[in-house]
């Protein structure tokens, strides 16, 4: 059984002014049990809407979503008991309660009682490194500590599926690295994780597969490596000391996508076919440019190629 089965998912927001906004336009996605699945996309792409539907906060307009076999429309209770959610940012905890009180409350909400609850809360506080701060009110926590508490809360019911919605947003690099290490530990435990993120490195480091989503559509679902391979046609050639005359020649070669200066005398030529890459290399050698290197695109570059020039911009 798949942990997550999404078929033909559409979600339309009715607006007081203007036309309805179609946030999701027929998403199909299957996430097997135990997989860490990264969901990448610009602001307004539909990632959070997808998470809200999966977590029963919103109803789909059409299509079906099943979480461990439970339908989000007809078996809401089943979904809720199978799912943990972690939202990014400062909010999402009762700031006036201690870390232990927060977890105790949520454990109670999920029907965990008595000795089992005390043991579970203690284990989670230990696991996320907050055991020594367990009796402090959360309002005084740093963002990184709060996010670790959020992760513990998301795990309190020992869910089969965990949704992490922009979990490291706003964190400093050290806290984000620690948080990723925690998520990495979960991979071995068999928990299925659906993680939305803007951070390509985060997605590449943690995900078994990534889905690129843009304007409510799933652009592709692949492993981070395969996504890179798929656009291997988009090779790039970096060279130093390229005369302006040669740069102009490179720009008009067939298959050359762009020629840009990246500072420090470095010229970057992006191509969309191996033949074009060869032609660029030949032209550089002919111009006696010696400092030439080839590299594969990063996941971020792949992403930018696929969603086009809008990049991280907000949809209108």
């Amino acid at each position: 059984m798949s942990a997550l089965e999404i078929t033909g998912l559409r979600r339309v927001y009715q607006r007081k002014r203007g036309d309805p906004l179609e946030a999701l336009r027929g998403i199909d996605l299957v996430v097997p049990e135990g997989e860490v699945h990264g969901l990448l996309g610009p602001n307004g792409a539909g990632k959070t809407t997808l998470c809200k539907i999966v977590s029963t906060v919103l109803l789909p307009t059409s299509g079906t979503v099943r979480v461990l076999g439970h339908d989000v429309v007809t078996d809401t209770a089943g979904v809720k008991s199978s799912l943990g959610i972690v939202f990014g940012g400062d909010k999402g905890a009762y700031d006036r309660l201690t870390a232990r009180q927060n977890l105790t409350f949520w454990a109670s909400v999920y029907g965990i009682t008595g000795t089992r609850r005390r043991r579970r809360v203690g284990e989670l506080l230990e696991r996320v490194g907050l055991a020594e701060r367990a009796e402090e009110v959360v309002g005084g926590f740093s963002r990184g500590m709060k996010q670790r508490l959020h992760l513990a809360r998301g795990l309190v019911s020992d869910p089969g599926v965990l949704i992490l919605d922009e979990p490291t947003v706003g964190m400093d690099p050290v806290a984000a690295r620690d948080f990723r290490a925690l998520v990495g530990e979960l991979r071995g435990g068999g928990t299925t994780i659906l993680m939305t993120t803007h951070d390509m490195a985060e997605a590449a480091a943690l995900s078994d597969r990534v889905s690129l989503i843009d304007q409510g559509r799933l652009v592709m679902t692949e492993t981070p490596e395969t996504v890179g391979d798929l656009v291997s046609a988009y090779e790039r050639v970096d060279a130093r000391g390229v005369p302006e005359r040669v740069r102009e020649q490179l720009a008009v070669l067939p298959g050359v996508v762009s020629v840009t200066g990246t500072g420090g005398g470095l010229t970057r030529v992006e191509t969309e076919a191996p033949e074009a890459t060869l032609a660029v290399q030949r032209a550089l050698v002919d111009a006696e440019v010696r400092d030439v290197s080839l590299s594969r695109p990063t996941l971020e570059e792949v992403y930018l190629h696929l969603v086009g020039g809008r990049g991280m911009g907000v949809d209108p």
Partner: protein, 265 residues
């Protein structure tokens, strides 16, 4: 369907949040020398109106009315605290959790009826003697018992109001103020219920505090226990109806939020 044991557990844990919130709003000093003094001054103000009118019967009427109305003013604060989850970022987590929303919210704002029980009891026992109402010692536990039930019953009514405020959270204080004013106006605190047109009197009968106040007046008048118990019974019946409506309303609010734009989170 939530079992009574599960409901009690949810209320107990939500009440931990309520207690923590109260600890931020008041220290024991600010509660005692700020909030309580403010309410007692308000009560004395209304009672002096009775003295000014020069009718001893009306003075008794308004002194008791003003004392019991302190519980309405305070329990109605639950309208605001119900909306606090929307600002804390916990709303989305609650809607995605298996919690029974009405039960959670019943525990979430229990600090107000608890505080109201203390303020109203002090107001009812300490101020009236200055206006010619002398309580007998045996009446004190009866009055405190009525106050406890009146605060909880009024809180049940407030829960329904709070469920509306949850949707219109920007207007929560306006909703609270209008509701408080209306309840105080028609429940027999300032003027007898019979003062109002019959349809308004029927609405007044649906308010738990109307019967709580009637029970207090019955104790003051030395009425038989059956009269007091009858008022208390009507109050509890009204409270049960309000709470039932509130539970349904909260569930509807959560369900409807799923169909909209996710506006509750």
């Amino acid at each position: 369907m939530i079992t009574p044991v599960q409901a009690a557990r949810t209320v107990r844990h939500a009440a931990v949040i309520a207690r923590a919130d109260l600890g931020v709003v008041y220290s024991w000093r600010t509660w005692l020398f700020g909030w309580l003094i403010r309410l007692l001054c308000q009560m004395v103000f209304y009672s002096l109106v009775g003295v000014l009118v020069g009718d001893p019967e009306y003075t008794v009427h308004i002194v008791l009315g003003a004392a019991v109305m302190t519980c309405v003013a305070e329990t109605m604060l639950a309208t605001a605290s119900t909306c606090w989850d929307r600002h804390q970022g916990t709303m989305g987590l609650l809607t995605a959790s298996p919690v029974e929303p009405g039960v959670f919210y019943f525990g979430r704002s229990l600090q107000w009826p608890a505080s109201a029980t203390a303020t109203t009891s002090i107001a009812l026992l300490a101020v009236p003697p200055f206006f010619g109402i002398a309580w007998e010692w045996h009446q004190v536990p009866v009055l405190v018992g009525i106050v406890v039930l009146t605060c909880l019953s009024t809180y049940c009514m407030t829960m329904l109001v709070a469920s509306f405020a949850l949707v219109l959270s920007e207007a929560r204080n306006i909703i609270s103020a209008i509701s408080t004013t209306c309840v105080i106006a028609i429940s027999g605190a300032m003027v007898p219920v019979e003062f109002w047109p019959v349809p308004v009197q029927w609405i007044a009968q649906a308010l738990p505090v109307t019967h709580g106040l009637a029970a207090v007046r019955a104790v003051e008048a030395g009425a038989p226990a059956s009269a007091v118990l009858a008022s208390v019974g009507l109050m509890l019946l009204a409270a049960a109806c309000w709470l039932s409506l509130a539970l349904v309303s909260f569930r509807q609010v959560f369900a409807r939020a799923r169909t909209g734009n996710g506006a509750l989170d």
